[in-house]
């Protein structure tokens, strides 16, 4: 279990973390989600001991580790740009932590084999990092971090440097890995889809503060404020109200509660269609429909339709 208590960190004038407290339950997979500059990576690096907080404490499994060096914290850390040891083979990279701990050879060998198997790199053990793809390098980074049986696994934008397809594969793979090992894991990401996909719990950060910490579904259904509402998914803002595009209903006839709008553009995204609309009062909004719905309405550009939000959220000022 990780407890960060009232952490403050400044870089010169810039306040990276402003009195942040967060608990990560043992065995969970938690995502720190936020735009760049929100302090999420800084918080992760403070938990690992790679950065020193200006104020506050870090507790790992009931121990105050605030003043401990990363060497003695027992965390596994995975870097966005892999931080592979370039002069070592894949096998030597993974064995590094065990060698440092002077484990006997008879133990290191089988343990490394097992980890290489786990990350599907058994056939590439003798290669050097330069001979691997980005996805392979990052799996090596994960195996290297897991080799020392860390108390917590910390991942700093681990898939940020990879292309979209590999990203998706790897995050599903990470989820399965977590379901097998149950290592307390924190992943930092700026991608809300990634956070919602992989994590049990998402901590949304903005400008050095925590906006909301909740399971993905709760975050989406009952966002605490405007920032969370617009960060965790697409949203229309109409006056004071926030409406998700899939909560916009389109009708061909007015029914009293509707408002007139013109179809400005239709964007086909495979199964879904995004309908961009301009209301008669000039406000723009978009609706998300399935292909069937679009076809049933026989929507076309320039057509007049009548919109009605089925669900909207208004935040108290």
């Amino acid at each position: 279990m990780i407890e960060a208590r009232r952490i403050t960190k400044r870089f010169g004038e810039f306040v990276a973390l402003d009195d942040v407290s967060v608990d990560v339950p043992a065995g969970s997979l938690t995502a720190l989600l936020g735009p760049s500059g929100s302090g999420k990576s800084t918080l992760l690096r403070i938990v690992a001991g790679l950065e020193r907080p200006d104020g506050g404490e870090v507790w790992l499994d009931g121990e105050d580790v605030t003043r401990r060096t990363p060497q003695r914290r027992g965390v596994g850390f995975v870097f966005q740009h892999y931080a592979a040891f370039k002069h070592m083979t894949v096998r030597e990279n993974v064995a590094f932590g065990l060698k440092i701990r002077r484990r006997p050879r008879s133990e290191i060998g089988p343990r490394v084999d097992e980890l290489l198997e786990l990350v599907q790199l058994s056939g590439l053990a003798k290669r050097y990092p330069a001979q691997l793809s980005g996805g392979q390098r990052q799996r090596m980074g994960l195996a290297r971090a897991l080799a020392v049986d860390p108390k917590v696994l910390l991942l700093d934008e681990p898939f940020g440097a990879l292309d979209a397809r590999v990203r998706k594969e790897l995050r599903q793979w990470l989820r399965r890995l977590h379901d097998e090992t149950h290592t307390t894991t924190v992943i930092v990401t700026h991608d809300q889809e990634e956070a919602m996909d992989v994590a049990d719990r998402v901590v949304v950060m903005n400008a050095g503060r925590i906006e909301q910490a909740a399971p993905p579904r709760e975050l989406y259904d009952s966002p605490a404020n405007e920032f969370v509402m617009s960060f965790v998914g697409p949203v229309n803002r109409v006056g004071e109200a926030f409406i998700r595009p899939h909560d916009v209903e389109l009708l061909l006839e007015p029914n009293g509660a509707t408002q007139e709008a013109m179809v400005e553009r239709l964007v086909h995204l495979g199964f879904e269609v995004r309908v961009e609309l301009v209301r008669d009062d000039g406000e723009q909004l978009f609706a998300q429909l399935t292909r069937e719905q679009t076809e049933a309405l026989e929507l076309a550009r320039g057509q007049i339709v009548y919109v009605r939000p089925t669900r909207q959220t208004v935040f108290a000022k």
């Binding site: 690992a48 001991g49 790679l50 060096t69 990363p70 060497q71 003695r72 914290r73 965390v75 596994g76 850390f77 870097f79 740009h81 931080a83 592979a84 040891f85 370039k86 002069h87 590094f96 932590g97 440092i100 701990r101 980074g141 290297r144 971090a145 080799a147 020392v148």
Partner: protein
């Protein structure tokens, strides 16, 4: 056409300024046969000069290698107060004429100086200090850009995996910078062997006592022993070439710069 012009110009430049003079030195040294060459370089004064040069090198090169690596680490990894001053000071020996360096040592340790009478001048300590001074920047300047390029992430990864600062240096940092260090050592060695100005001022130029090989070359020349001067020059050149060859044999093929 332009390609040939560039080739011709660069080759011509090298021939006129490098190959021709060095070739002439070799030619003159062996002009009167191997026997004469050997006779020149095996005279007691020549042997003493060679030994002195090697001894100064044996102190100056390791000293500047260790200092160079530590200094590069300090400049790149730790932002300490006065960082800019250190960074600029390291380059000072490149900018400052060696004669000025020699003179400053003379003023510091000579008659009336702050540290008068420590048996520094006209002896090995002074000559070594002068040599260390002029050959100081090479290792630092080779290692700094490499350290910058490899960044800190590998070192941070090592620390999260349980490595101490020393273990991290030995296992992660050193393997990444060793070829830069080796190249710096070669440059340092070349500079140490060839140093003339600063050593000339502080040595007192006592034949057979405080004469390094470069001083000996000039001494022979002034004595109208041109053959002796050429022979000693060849020895200097051969040591330099040997240093380069050692580096090239040690360096694995894939790590070409």
């Amino acid at each position: 056409m332009g390609r040939y012009a560039i080739r011709f110009a660069s080759l011509g430049y090298l021939v006129v300024l490098l190959v021709a003079p060095v070739g002439l030195v070799f030619y003159r040294a062996f002009e009167h046969g191997l026997g004469a060459f050997w006779g020149s370089i095996s005279s007691p004064d020549a042997v003493h000069a060679l030994k002195l040069t090697l001894m100064i090198g044996a102190i100056a090169v390791p000293a500047n290698t260790i200092f160079g690596v530590l200094c590069a680490l300090a400049i790149v990894r730790y932002r300490f107060p006065g960082f800019g001053v250190v960074n600029a000071l390291v380059d000072l020996p490149l900018a400052l004429s060696p004669v000025v360096v020699g003179l400053s040592l003379l003023l510091l340790y000579g008659r009336g100086g702050w540290l008068e009478g420590h048996n520094v001048l006209f002896a090995l300590p002074g000559m070594t200090m002068a040599t260390i001074f002029v050959s100081l920047p090479f290792v630092v300047r080779e290692v700094v850009p490499v350290l910058r390029e490899i960044g800190t992430e590998q070192e941070q990864a090592a620390s999260t995996l349980g490595a101490s600062a020393l273990q991290t240096f030995v296992r992660v940092t050193w393997p990444s910078i060793r070829w830069a260090v080796a190249y710096g050592v070669v440059l340092t060695t070349a500079r140490v062997l060839g140093e003339f100005g600063a050593v000339s001022v502080v040595s007192g130029r006592l034949v057979g006592q405080t004469e390094t090989l470069t001083l000996y070359v000039q001494d022979r020349y002034n004595d109208f022993d041109v053959a002796g001067a050429y022979a000693s020059s060849v020895v200097l050149a051969l040591i330099a070439i040997a240093t380069l060859l050692v580096l090239n044999t040690l360096r694995p093929k894939e790590e070409t710069r």
